[in-house]
Amino acid sequence: MDPFEQYQILQSRRQFLNQSKAGLGAAALAALVSPPCVADGNYVADALPKAKRVIFLFMAGAPSQLDLFDHKPKLGEKFRQPLPDDVRDGQRVTAMTKGRDHLIQPSMFKFSPQGQSGLFMSELLPHLSTVADDVCLIKSMYTDAINHDPGKTLICTGSQIPGKPSLGAWLSYGLGTLNKDLPDFIVLNSAFWSGDQRNVQALYSRLWGTGFLPSKHQGVAFQSSGAPVLFLSNPAGVSRASRHKMLELVTELNQKHAAEIGDPEIHTTIAQQEMAFRMQASVPELTDISAEPAAMLDLYGPEVHKTGSFARNCLLARRMVERGVRFVQVYHRGWDHHAALPGKMRGQCFDIDQPCAALIKDLKNRGLLDDTLIVFSGEFGRTVYCQGSQSATDYGRDHHSRCFTAWLAGGGVKGGIEHGRTDEYSYNIVDQDGKKTTRFEDGAIHIRDLNATILHQLGIDHRRLTFRFQGLDQKLTGVEEESHVLTKILS
């Protein structure tokens, strides 16, 4: 957007606030009635959006595609054989397995075809298997990073280098708000997990940060204990009534000051204080699940009763999209299985399997799946070769950037299909003829392409959603490489 347009938008916003200053403020506070919502989203959709909202289930630490989705039946015969050099093909490896043997490790878990579509899923995912026909597996994801921090930063912000806005921030910036009482972008960090307890990779607030976009677009991380939003609750001894009284006084004085000094920004302050006051009511209502029927809680599984569980967060994510939150990102940690992978995977899948399936079913029952896109992904994949001690039932896997599996559901994406292929080792992405490739045309999907596709479903041409920074029209998909919309999987 050029500065003039930016200015005009600012202008109209200011005018709005200005004209409505008499109406805003005390009246709204008194009646607890919301003023009309001021959309700051200025992006004019290129097409009718298929999806209005996104729930991104982020498996931090990188789950093994080989043990969940990417079925390689022939690997059993190759147990403990070295990975052929032409497969590895000069691939850089992490410091952890550099210079070691690279011996093949098949998955110990059984795979079977599911639903009418016959998508293969591992026995670790019995619940997700029941909704396989709603899921689109992308088996040919690849990334540029082989370490967690840059890997996660890349998938969440489109760049390995810290400082870029996250996907949710871009959506908030581009599309504005769908609701007037809640943030556009909410982050739910699962407070615990069943897998690896010791080796748990860090998250960074930059993963839901705004980078160079205005900070009002940043993800609001909900807390699993205490007030869900930082500083939401009044201090002890401040009732809603006294907060109301206090804000009446503040608004009165602010309005007088605005009349004297002329700066329209004061009206923004007034509006935001009102929003804060409304959030003090709307957020507790959002996180209070006591009115959910028992059958609904059962659908999400026993963990849903624990605050901060992944299951609870999935249920909250549904309640959020229901209330018009644009983008919800649910983080689940503990997927970095360098050793003792099978046991840890069982625990992790216990955490996430039933809630993921429940989320799909729940949204579907409410008619929300059609325009809510669910994305499930880690930051990269894991190696076919073993790390740490190796036996048929005990093994670990190192980081792997050349291929991994993500899945999508709803939001105008076809269910019961898979996209992309990997070689017999789940090591390289291959084309129709089995030749190694990283080309989009051959089916390989970079994170840029995934992001372009997500934006597309929301009615956004990724090339047009830009923000001027450091002299460049910055984009979620970067300014360097081309990105593609994966139209094949769209209904």
């Binding site: 200005n18 960074y204 607030s205 201090p235 009534a241 602010n254 002299g471």
Partner: protein
């Protein structure tokens, strides 16, 4: 898509012309002083330009006029719409055409078999004009599929006029040394300083009149906040009001510049710029010890260290013949980048990442350039080649340090900074170690069996002592303050251009050098050093350093710089709103021996700065950011100032300076929610006691999760260099000001102090409260609002016994009636803390 563009260009241009041999014309490297005249020409035109246009269009989007300047009007359009394919980057250049320079065989004036892309003064013979204006979609530039926005009609008019006027190119203004311009004549005796004369001249052209000077209360609040980061106390206000002398304001400024708070406040901006933090920022995000660097920055500003020395110490403080402690600490600048701990990443990749981070920081902090773009390819907009980047990187690739940190341990090289007492103790221990060692050796040399037998017991005792003393020594060493510093390796590590920036794809080897589009670095030695680089940057004739620095200082006082893009002075940056003023400030800054306080003094003593920020709504709408300086600037305070102000006015502020970072309380589990369990910053334990009331500059900064009270108000995470903070206005900010526990505690503290003054009437007490928070006295209407608000709050609490107890739980002895008063007054102060005027500098 790219190939489609290539095809089209080939068809329309290149195919018609013989394929010329590509060659890069390096810009003349001896441009310290040349082309000044051309630049002047453009400047003097600038001020004469007839201006019937809206203010905004003037600043960034000049419409048609017969006085079009290449630098001001044309370059931005070409850069934005054309350079991507017709700019400095040779690889992406299409159709063998570059529009960024005039004199090149691929330039626009070059004869292409009788055709020219631009023929001065002749639109018909200028292919560019045809291509910009044609109705043929397939021919029109920029091509639709490039996703570059088409030119607006106003922009086309600019190009049209420029061609008609002769299509004169100018060297990019920021890469030519500033020369001190002559200030316009003083049109108003009150507006007599050089700053004011430049500003007023522009306002006059715009047919605008400045606002009158702000009232004394506004003024003392503004200048105290701007220079010290906290507001004035009522006593200070009274003293200023009572001082009727003409020098009252000047004296106030001098007083403020001399307070130690000044350095703390100035340091905040610098620490954003160099991304100072307490953790490493990647992977484990372990603690790192750099706080002596922060202390040095504070001391340097307070001592008014010459800015050129300030810069040199940081780039190359370790390379002085006998560096002082301060110079070594300052050289820690090169250690402020993010760094991973060893174990997972590939060390070669980490090494490269560190080098790139250092060079980018050098570019942003000192040159105001976005050099990072040239890591992978030639810059698409600025003349920064990939080679330029790696030549520069060769100054920053030779540190004597490992690319990854040894886990939690301090990452060498570092210096130890024992206190005098510790020094003494360490000396004693060292001498004791030496003595005992000698004694042991002597005992071991015992020759005869008898002697040996006699020595056994003593030897054992001495060995025990040695162990104990060594342990004491080690223990004491862990208590000694350290700071990471720079240290050069003796052997020189070669540097290469990395193909597409990949650490494992070295290409051509390069030597240390500065970017080719800037003046050359002259060095007597064949091997240029970081010290040479520092001297080059701080040369008084350097086109960027002083401009970039004064612009950032200016930005502190007006909310936005004369160049708005204070971190980007390149082609994609913004042209200055007042180019002459910028050059005047830069030149006088250098002439003053880089004297920061003198510069700041000149700024805050100007009539421009002292204007009232009260203006008609229309003025705010016409120029929301006050780029034309027709009023006093009004903008929200930074997060640190908001917090420090609250601590000061409530009497809680602890003004202890320096030292390790402190941890004021924050909501629970924030660190845990993001950290690895084995991180040294996994679990946040709030400090107790007075240290939680230290100024915010001393708050612990974990990069993965900085204090939310700060980031919610737009403080950066300190993961990358930030020259200018955003200023947003969000509901989360409102929640912080309403509910943050320390802020609420501060309100309670202020309320009790107010109530303790029992000789006051309620109205007088309300006035005092209002004044201590806003620096103003309430007028009748405001006082009525306050009284009304207080009564309402009192009534609420009279009906709510539990709430009264909760608010006053810290108070031991008080009647219920007194408690109701305290609760109501606490909420009254909380209201004052939430006023827009309180969080705003106006």
């Amino acid at each position: 898509m790219r190939s489609a563009i290539v095809q089209k260009h080939k068809f329309l241009i290149s195919a018609r012309f013989a394929k010329g041999q590509r060659r890069r014309i390096m810009q003349d490297r001896n441009k310290w002083n040349v082309d000044r005249n051309r630049l002047w020409l453009c400047r003097s035109r600038f001020t004469r330009m007839p201006l019937l246009l809206s203010i905004w269009t003037l600043i960034s989007l000049p419409a048609a006029s017969d006085t079009v300047s290449f630098n001001r009007d044309v370059r931005a359009i070409l850069s934005d719409r054309c350079f991507q394919c017709h700019g400095p980057n040779e690889e992406t250049r299409q159709a063998e055409l570059r529009l960024d320079v005039a004199d090149d065989r691929e330039g626009p004036f070059h004869d292409r078999d009788g055709h020219r892309v631009i023929t001065p003064k002749d639109l018909q013979a200028s292919a560019i004009w045809q291509r910009l204006t044609t109705n043929d979609d397939a021919e029109r530039m920029p091509p639709a599929e490039s996703n570059v926005k088409p030119l607006t009609s106003g922009e086309k008019q600019v190009i049209r006029q420029w061609i008609l006027n002769g299509a004169q190119y100018e060297d990019f203004w920021a890469f030519v040394s500033p020369q001190r311009p002559t200030a316009p004549d003083a049109a108003d005796p009150q507006w007599n300083s050089p700053i004011d004369r430049f500003v007023l001249a522009r306002l006059t052209v715009e047919k605008m009149t400045p606002q009158p000077a702000a009232d004394k209360r506004t003024l003392i609040r503004r200048v105290t906040l701007d220079l010290t980061g906290v507001p004035p106390t009522p006593t200070e206000i009274q003293r200023f009001l009572n001082d009727q002398s003409p020098e009252a304001y000047q004296d106030l400024v001098d007083r403020l510049l001399a307070t130690p708070r000044y350095g703390e406040h100035m340091a905040k901006y610098w620490l954003d710029l160099v991304r100072f933090a307490d953790t490493n920022g990647i992977h484990h995000d372990h603690y790192r010890e750099m706080t002596p660097y922060r202390d040095w920055v504070i001391r340097a500003f307070n001592a008014n260290l010459r800015f050129d020395d300030f810069v040199t110490y940081q780039i190359a403080g370790d390379l002085y013949e006998q560096p002082t402690i301060d110079q070594q600490i300052a050289s820690g600048f090169n250690r402020l980048h993010l760094v991973i701990d060893r174990g997972t990443a590939i060390p070669e990749e980490s090494f490269n990442r560190n080098v790139v981070d250092r060079v980018s920081a050098f570019g942003t902090a000192f040159l105001g350039l976005t050099l990072g773009c040239a890591v992978c390819h030639d810059h698409k907009y600025d003349p920064v080649t990939q080679k330029d980047f790696y030549q520069l990187s060769a100054f920053f690739n030779n540190f004597d340090t490992t690319p990854e940190t040894p886990g939690r341990d301090t990452h060498p090289p570092f210096i130890q900074l024992p206190t005098p007492a510790q020094s003494e103790q360490l000396k004693l221990l060292a001498s004791r170690v030496a003595t005992v060692t000698v004694e042991i050796n002597t005992l071991r040399k015992a020759a005869t069996p008898d002697e040996k037998a006699a020595a056994v017991a003593t030897l054992k005792q001495k060995e025990e002592e040695l162990k104990a003393v060594t342990r004491q020594n080690a223990d004491l060493n862990t208590l000694v303050q350290v700071s990471l510093v720079s240290k050069e390796r003796t052997e020189i590590r070669p540097a290469y251009i990395l193909t597409r920036g990949a650490y494992d794809q070295p290409g051509e080897q390069v030597e240390r050098n500065t970017p080719s589009f800037l003046p050359p670095l002259d060095s007597a030695e064949s091997l240029k050093t970081r010290m040479d680089l520092a001297r080059w940057v701080t040369d008084g004739q350097h086109p960027l350093t002083a401009r970039v620095a004064v612009n950032r200082f200016w930005q502190q006082f007006f909310g936005v710089g004369l160049v708005k893009t204070s971190g980007d002075f390149g082609a994609q940056g913004e042209f200055p709103s007042h180019p002459d003023l910028l050059d005047d400030l830069a030149s006088s800054f250098v002439q003053s021996q880089w004297d920061v306080k003198t510069l700041i003094r000149a700024i805050v003593l100007s009539a421009t700065y002292q204007q009232s920020s009260s203006a008609p709504v229309e003025a705010y709408q016409a120029d929301p950011e006050n780029r034309l300086l027709g009023r006093g600037s009004r903008f929200r305070l930074d997060s640190e100032m908001i917090r420090d102000q609250m601590l000061l006015v409530s009497g809680l502020l602890n003004e202890t300076m320096y030292g390790k970072s402190v941890r004021p309380p924050q909501p629970p589990n924030l660190w845990k929610s993001v950290s690895m369990k084995s991180s040294s910053t996994y679990s946040f334990e709030a400090d107790t006691g007075e240290s939680i009331y230290r100024r915010s500059i001393y708050s612990f900064w974990k990069r993965a999760m900085p204090p939310p009270q700060m980031t919610i108000f737009d403080a950066p995470t300190r993961e990358s260099c930030v020259a200018r903070r955003e200023r947003t206005n969000t509901p989360l900010q409102a929640l912080v000001l309403m509910n943050e526990r320390q802020y609420f505690h501060a309100a309670g503290n202020a309320a009790r102090t107010l109530l303790a003054a029992n000789d006051l009437s309620e109205a007088a007490r309300l006035s005092r409260a209002y004044e201590s928070v806003t620096s103003h006295l309430p007028d009748t209407e405001e006082l009525a609002s306050l009284q009304n608000g207080l009564s309402g709050l009192r009534l609420t609490y009279q009906q709510d016994v539990e709430s009264v107890k909760a608010v006053t739980s810290e108070i031991k002895e008080a009647s219920h009636q007194e408690r109701i008063e305290i609760a109501a007054w606490t909420m009254l102060v909380n209201s004052l803390f939430n006023l827009d005027a309180t969080k705003t500098r106006e």
